[in-house]
Subunit: 261 residues, 2 copies
DNA sequence: AACGATAGCTTATGGCATAAGGAGTTCGCA
DNA sequence: TGCGAACTCCTTATGCCATAAGCTATCGTT
C-alpha cells in the first residue's frame, strides 16, 4: 500500500531515462565508481523479480551488490526514481520491431501474448502505474510496436486510442489476476477448495444471494462433459475469450469503415 | 510500494466481511467498546479518500477517531484486514439492483458509468488488487448486477467470463489513468506543456523514433478543425471509444449466436 | 606533495506496523 | 456488596523502512 501514483521527480527520472548510454566519458578525480546506474537498476529488477514489490528495499538492492543502502544514493536520487528506471528497463525485453504478419489480427495476438508473458515474468511491473508522469523509451517502444500493427487497419486515431487503451488495460489487468492466483496457489495448495469451503462456512446463502455469479463460474463449454479444469486452463480460456471479444469489436470497426468508404 | 497482493489472512477477513450486522448482542464484562469495526472502516475510507493510499496509516485512522493506533487492534487484526474491509465496504455505494433498461447495451453502459464514477471518487480502491483471495458481499453484488444485464444476451458463460473481465479491467485501468492524470494536473498546472517540454529537451529525436505514437496523439476527429481539447475531454472521448469497441465485440458475439441458432 | 572532488561508509531522524504488557473499567456472580 | 474475569485502551519497545548529514578514504590534477 503506497504511492504507486506519485513517483519521483519526473524531470529527474526522465533525464536519467533518456540519457545516451556513454554519457559520462570524462575522467574525474576521486575513487573509481564501483557501481553504475545500470548495475543498480539491474539489481533492483532481480530483487523485485524474486521478492516482489514488497521485498524491494534499498537495502535489499544494495546487498545484492555488496554495498550498503546509502551507496546507491550516489547514483540514483531515491527509490522512486529507481523504480521508474526499473520499470522502463524491464520493458527493454520487449518492443523490438517484429516481422510482419499476415493481417492485423495475428499481429495483435502475438503482441498481446508477448506482453502477457512479460508481465508474468515481472509481475511487479503491474504495480507501477501505467499512466505515470514519466515516460521511458522502452515503454514507448512497446506502444510503437503495437501501433505498427494497428495503423494497418486504417482506423482513425480516435478509435485506435480506445483500442490501445482496452488492449493494454486488459492485458495488464488479466496478467495481474493470473499472477496473483498463481502466487496464492503456490503459497497454499488446494487453494480453490480451501477458498470455496471458507465461503460455504461463512456465507451459506451465497448461492441464493448471487445466483448469476454461481452460474457464471459453474457453466462450462456446452460440449464439455463437465471436466474439472485446472485454474490455469480456466483462466487462459477466459483470457482468450475476452480478447476475442475485443478484437471482434475492432474488426467490426474495420468493416464498418470499409463500407463507409 | 508494497504488498498489494497478499492482504491479510483471508479466513479472518472473510469472516469479518460476511458477519451479520447485529452479531454481538450479549453483554460482556469490561468497559463498553468506544469504537466498532464499522466506525474504523468508515474512518479508514475517509482517510484514504482524502490522503490517498500513501496517507493511510493506522495512526491516521486512529487519530480521526481520537484514539491511538494501538486501540484499533482491539477491533481489527491488522492493517491488511482493515484494507480488505474498506475495499468491500466502499463497494456498498454501488451494486443495488437497477431498473431494467431497454436492451443489454444501455444497461452495460450505465453500469460502466456508475463504476467509473465510483473509482474516481475512491481512487485508492484501484490500488487494491482486483483478484484477491478475499471476497466480500458488496464487491460480489457489483458483479451480480452486471451479470443481471449480461445474461440477457443469451451468451454462454465462457464468453461472458471474458466479457466481464474485459469490462472490469478496462474500467479499472482507465479510471486509474484518469485519476492519476487529474492528480498530476492538480499538483502542477500546465502539466501537459511541462511534460512535453521536458520530453523535447531530453529526447529531441522523439518524433523520429516514435512516429506512430506522435501520430496517435496528434490526429483528432476528421471533422474537427484542430481544436485543442482539454485533457479531460480527450480522455473521456478515448474512454468512450474503447468501450464502444468492446461492446461492439459483444454485439458481434450476440449476432453470431443468433445466426447459429 | 598537496588539493579538491568523489564513493561509499557510519550514524541519526522520523516514519511505519505491531508485539508486549500494564492500568483502568465494567460485567456476572458469590 | 465486593471480587475476579473479561475487556478497552494506553505506553513502551522492536525492527523495519527511506533518507539526511557528515566523515573518511581514494585518486586525478596541479
Amino acid at each position: 500500500m503506497s504511492n504507486l501514483a506519485g513517483q519521483g521527480d519526473p524531470a529527474v527520472s526522465m533525464s536519467l531515462l533518456w540519457a545516451p548510454a556513454g554519457d559520462r566519458a570524462t575522467a574525474t578525480p576521486g575513487p573509481k565508481p564501483g557501481l553504475s546506474v545500470d548495475l543498480i537498476v539491474e539489481a533492483g529488477i532481480s530483487v523485485a523479480d524474486t521478492a516482489s514489490m514488497a521485498g524491494l528495499s534499498m537495502r535489499a538492492v544494495a546487498e545484492r551488490l555488496g554495498r550498503t543502502s546509502m551507496a546507491l544514493y550516489t547514483y540514483v536520487p531515491g527509490k522512486a526514481e529507481l523504480l521508474d528506471l526499473m520499470y522502463d528497463r524491464a520493458h527493454a525485453e520487449l518492443g523490438g520491431p517484429r516481422p510482419p504478419e499476415d493481417g492485423w489480427r495475428p499481429g495483435v495476438l502475438s503482441w498481446v501474448a508477448e506482453l502477457k508473458e512479460f508481465y508474468l515474468r515481472h509481475p511487479w511491473v503491474l504495480q507501477v502505474s501505467y499512466a505515470r508522469a514519466v515516460l521511458g523509451p522502452n515503454e514507448q517502444a512497446v506502444l510503437e510496436t503495437l501501433l505498427d500493427v494497428l495503423f494497418t487497419t486504417g482506423l482513425p486515431a480516435d478509435v485506435l486510442r480506445g483500442v490501445v487503451g482496452s488492449l493494454f488495460h486488459y492485458v495488464r489487468g488479466f496478467a495481474q489476476t493470473i499472477a496473483e492466483t498463481a502466487l496464492a496457489a503456490a503459497t497454499q495448495e488446494d487453494w480453490w477448495r480451501e477458498r470455496s469451503g471458507m465461503l460455504d462456512e461463512v456465507a451459506p446463502d451465497f448461492a441464493e444471494r448471487f445466483p448469476l455469479s454461481v452460474r457464471l463460474g459453474r457453466e462450462t463449454a456446452a460440449g464439455g462433459g463437465g471436466r474439472e479444469w485446472s485454474w490455469e486452463r480456466q483462466l487462459d480460456a477466459t483470457f482468450d475469450a475476452g480478447l476475442t471479444v475485443i478484437l471482434d469489436g475492432v474488426e467490426a470497426a474495420v468493416r464498418a469503415q470499409g463500407v463507409r468508404r
